[in-house]
């Protein structure tokens, strides 16, 4: 089990940040991904592997409208 | 048309080009008012970078007022009457080759007159077909 934006998500062997974004339908472009408190640059999202128990925050920036 | 081309390896940093440019354009000797800029390479002292417009024209469509245009001789030029000094062109030049000065309302950019090349003692800048 991992946490994504404070909600539980099933962990799957080998899942990457990109997989999480797709699963959550996080299509917005102005996001910052933070895994266990560390910012993961955009160009690593497709390769970065999530570990079981990780705490992932996908911070959407726009304050909108 | 002929534009200013550079061979930075020949540049000795004397700055004569900048003085000549500002004198031609604004009747003062002030490198801050020059459309060509010579900068010492911070990592390699004694070697220089020369920045000057290559008249690629990318700044023409970003200008809201049609001040930025291609003149009949092929040079990319600013029409001072139309220009409102918004500096979009400055921010959108891929070569960072447009400059600003608080005393001058319009951005400062090369008009391909060649004044700078005529005073360069080393041949680091010269006029050549685009």
């Amino acid at each position: 089990m991992i946490k994504v934006n404070k909600e539980d998500m099933e962990y799957q062997e080998g899942m990457t940040i990109e997989d999480i974004l797709r699963k959550k339908k996080y299509t917005f472009r102005m996001i910052t991904v933070i895994v266990n408190g560390r910012v993961i640059p955009k160009d690593q999202h497709s390769a970065y592997r999530i570990m079981d128990g990780d705490n992932v925050d996908v911070v959407h920036i726009m304050s909108g409208g | 048309m002929k534009i200013v081309k550079t061979k930075p390896e020949l540049c000795n940093g004397c700055g004569a080009c900048m003085t000549a440019c500002s004198k031609t354009r604004y009747k003062v000797e002030d490198p801050q008012k020059s459309a060509i800029r010579v900068k010492e390479n911070s990592e390699k002292p004694g070697s220089y970078e020369i920045i000057v417009c290559n008249h690629c024209g990318e700044c023409i469509p970003v200008c809201n007022t049609e001040a930025m245009h291609r003149a009949r001789n092929g040079a990319v030029r600013i029409d001072d009457v139309k220009c409102v000094g918004c500096c979009i062109c400055v921010g959108f030049c891929p070569n960072n080759a447009i400059f600003t000065h608080p005393e001058i309302n319009e951005p400062i950019k090369c008009i391909a007159c060649g004044a700078c090349t005529r005073v360069c003692p080393t041949g680091a800048i010269y006029m050549e077909e685009k």
């Binding site: 102005m30 996908v58 726009m62 304050s63 909108g64 | 918004c86 309302n105």
Partner: protein, 716 residues
């Protein structure tokens, strides 16, 4: 008819010659007052106190209106005013989004004070012509125009019987009439409205800017709350200002270099990053449609649902094909964000201009989401057509869309029928009926006459005259304070419910848009967190309206390393830019905390203004239940898993319960949450539990004018 003939038909009613002013540090230090009842034109000085407390823009508008009216004034009374002002920063050319005009008036739909923030060249050119604000009181007998010549130095009021009222024509005619040549056209800015503003309560104002590349005047809208209806009620056909000679220093900045530096940082950022971020330069705000659909926030069928499988038909990729690409679409000089997209050579299929080819200022997110998704019509050409007509008729497209969506739901639920609609089968998805309704509204006949009064009045009419259940109407009629809601679904974000319903003028997202922070990022879990967000963001955004700024370049682009800062949602580097440009213009030395303080004064003043007009307490801050949660069975079922889980987590026993029972449980909980949110927000804002600024707050802010103190003392 040719322009000469039109001009010849003008009858001069009044003229004032004036000495040309000079803008010093963002101010001309005087404003222009016009009374159309007795044709007075005069100058008023701007005091230091006005600048200190109200800054400019919306602040000046509120102050003038406060002094012009009484608590009994109605929107159509002659003492009501329309005030237009940019603000000290407005008119600089070097920083994106610095040419906004702020419009303040008493609203026909809310009965209280309304503010709008719009693009176009009017506000800056007005200032450069010598005036920090234009204040119009009184009512003319026949259609008039006001003309301000900022190069020759005179103002006239003229009867103008022949020019068009509809904006796309009016803007073109007046621009051509007052420009000396094609080159001169960009120096003319026109404010106009349209026939729909006469026939509905949701009239808007169009602010023109001449597009030199397209060779047509384009328009931006001061749309909300019936401002155009007031304008036409005063019998104003157009206000025209002319000023040639805009330069980088026309705004008289104290430190120009500071502004240039900030501007260049942002231009460069937009140049490098917009293409990988929001693509504002390509598609403007239309990129939001697919995003909102993906996050279940796109209003569908009168805000019942948050997404729809056909939303792809309205995605930005579709609109990109219609928008002419590669043009510098800024609504004021220097805006490299360039979001003001347009569709060229659009052939109209309906209405009085059928068959003509026009340039349409289309389509922003609110339009696509409103007349499109919210009415379940997923057809881009219909959206563009509706956009054109709402604008040229002078009708607020947000209110039109939300009203239409409401009517469609009422029709589908059998609350109204064909007899009442005059034969219109106004169902979700029926684009012909929707366009017909827009024409009826604009031209003031048939069922359109009812719809044009907006959701609040329709609720009353449907209940009183057609025997509809008022509770259901109140739950599904998406208005607060009398203003129709803009196009985001706030159901799953408590903070946004507050962002909408607590907003001073009514539910418009320009005060606060907190859905991502709250619902997606879960950054503000507690009431205190939400209250802090509802303290900071509405104030921060208010500041744009004091200074003549656009909100978009603040957070629709962000520096590459913004995510690494302490508070990414605030975009700290851009806040620094704003501090720099304010100081660069005014020569003052404010900090980022002062931004909030400046806004807090005006924001509280506006809240008190609402109180003065008979509103401004807690009971006016409560939204219809659809803002908060599912009203109907279908809505509940569309998100059953989410709602069931929420109830379970809260400890409700939902085993064997019907949907209706579950709706009731959820409702009890959510309505209670909303009240608690109000408690927290009022406390954070320094207000009483009934939502009135305390004496202490008012004193701290320095807005304790005698009449303010007297008024709020009754509510402490």
């Amino acid at each position: 008819m040719d322009l000469l003939e039109m001009k010849k038909a003008h009858k001069l009613l009044a003229r004032m010659d004036y000495e040309l002013g000079k803008v010093e540090k963002g101010y001309t230090n005087r404003t222009l007052y016009i009374n159309l009842s007795d044709n007075t034109i005069k100058t008023k000085p701007v005091t230091e106190q006005m600048k200190e407390i109200f800054i400019g823009g919306r602040g000046f508008g509120l102050w003038y209106l406060w002094n012009a009216i009484t608590e009994k004034t109605k929107w159509s009374d002659p003492e009501n005013e329309i005030i237009i002002s940019t603000g000290p920063i407005g008119g600089i050319t070097q920083y994106p989004g610095a040419g906004k005009s702020l419009v303040v008036t008493l609203s026909p739909t809310t009965g209280s004070v309304m503010d709008n923030n719009t693009g176009g060249y009017f506000g800056p050119l007005l200032k450069f012509a010598g005036w920090d604000a234009l204040e119009i009181q009184g009512k003319a007998e026949k259609d008039v125009i006001i003309y301000i010549d900022g190069n020759s130095g005179y103002v006239t009021i003229e009867e103008a019987p022949l020019e068009a009222v509809d904006s796309h024509l009016a803007a073109e005619q007046f621009t051509a009439m007052y420009a000396d040549s094609e080159e001169d056209k960009r120096n003319v800015a026109v404010v106009s409205s349209g026939r729909g503003a006469e026939n509905t309560l949701i009239g808007l104002l169009n602010f023109s800017f001449y597009d030199v590349k397209r060779g047509v005047p384009r328009m931006k809208q001061a749309a909300r709350g019936g401002t155009g209806t007031v304008f036409r009620d005063k019998k104003i056909k157009a206000i025209i200002v002319k000023y040639s000679g805009v330069k980088g220093d026309t705004n008289g900045p104290a430190d120009k270099q500071k502004i240039i530096d900030a501007g260049l940082r942002l231009h460069r950022e937009i140049y490098e990053l917009d293409k990988v971020q929001n693509r504002m330069r390509e598609v403007g705000t239309a990129h939001l449609t697919e995003i909102m659909n993906d996050y279940d926030l796109l209003p569908v069928m009168n805000f019942q649902y948050g997404s729809h499988q056909d939303a792809v038909k309205l995605s930005s990729d579709v609109f990109k094909e219609y928008f002419t690409q590669g043009l510098p679409d800024g609504c004021w000089y220097g805006c490299s964000m360039a979001c003001a997209k347009a569709v060229d050579n659009f052939e109209l299929k309906t209405g009085p201009y059928k068959g003509q080819k026009v340039c349409v200022d289309a389509a922003e997110y609110e339009t696509v989401a409103g007349v499109g998704a919210n009415c379940a019509i997923f057809d881009p050409e219909y959206v563009i057509e509706a956009n054109f007509y709402c604008d040229t008729y002078g009708m607020d497209i947000i209110s039109t869309a939300t009203s239409m969506a409401f009517v469609m739901e009422c029709y589908e639920r059998g609350i109204i029928n064909k007899e009442i609609t005059g034969g219109l089968e106004i169902k979700f998805g029926n684009k012909d009926a929707a366009l017909e309704l827009i024409h009826q509204m604009g031209n003031g006949y048939g069922f359109g006459k009812i719809v044009g009064q907006g959701v609040r009045r329709m609720k009353k009419i449907f209940a009183e005259e057609y025997g509809a259940d008022p509770n259901l109407l109140n739950d599904i009629g998406m208005e607060v304070k009398g203003l129709e809601c803009s196009q985001y679904v706030s159901k799953e974000s408590l903070a946004q419910q507050g962002g909408y319903a607590l907003a001073n003028k009514g539910p418009q997202h320009d005060e606060a848009w907190l859905i991502f922070m709250d619902m997606v990022n879960k950054q503000i879990p507690t009431f205190e967190d939400k209250a802090q967000a509802l303290f900071y963001f509405p104030l921060f955004r208010t500041w744009f309206g004091l200074n003549g700024l656009c909100k978009l370049p603040w957070n629709d682009i962000e520096p590459a390393d913004n995510g690494l800062t302490d508070e990414p949602a605030k975009v700290p580097e851009h806040v620094r830019n704003y501090v720099d440009i304010f100081n660069g213009v005014t020569g003052k030395n404010i900090t980022k905390e002062d931004i909030i303080l400046q806004s807090e004064r005006v924001y509280n003043f506006q809240r008190i203004f609402n109180l003065r007009m008979g509103y401004g307490t807690r009971k006016y801050d409560i939204p219809p239940y659809r803002f908060m949660g599912p009203v109907t069975k279908e809505e509940y079922e569309s998100r059953a898993e989410r709602y069931d889980n929420q109830l379970k987590e809260l400890g409700y026993d939902i085993e064997g319960k019907t949907v209706e029972e579950k709706i009731k449980m959820l409702r009890e909980y959510r309505e209670d949450q909303y009240q608690k949110l109000c408690d927290a927000v009022y406390k954070r804002r320094g207000w009483t539990p009934d939502g009135v600024p305390t004496l202490e707050t008012v004193k701290r802010l320095g807005i304790h004018f005698p009449d303010v103190v007297e008024l709020i003392s009754k509510h402490q």
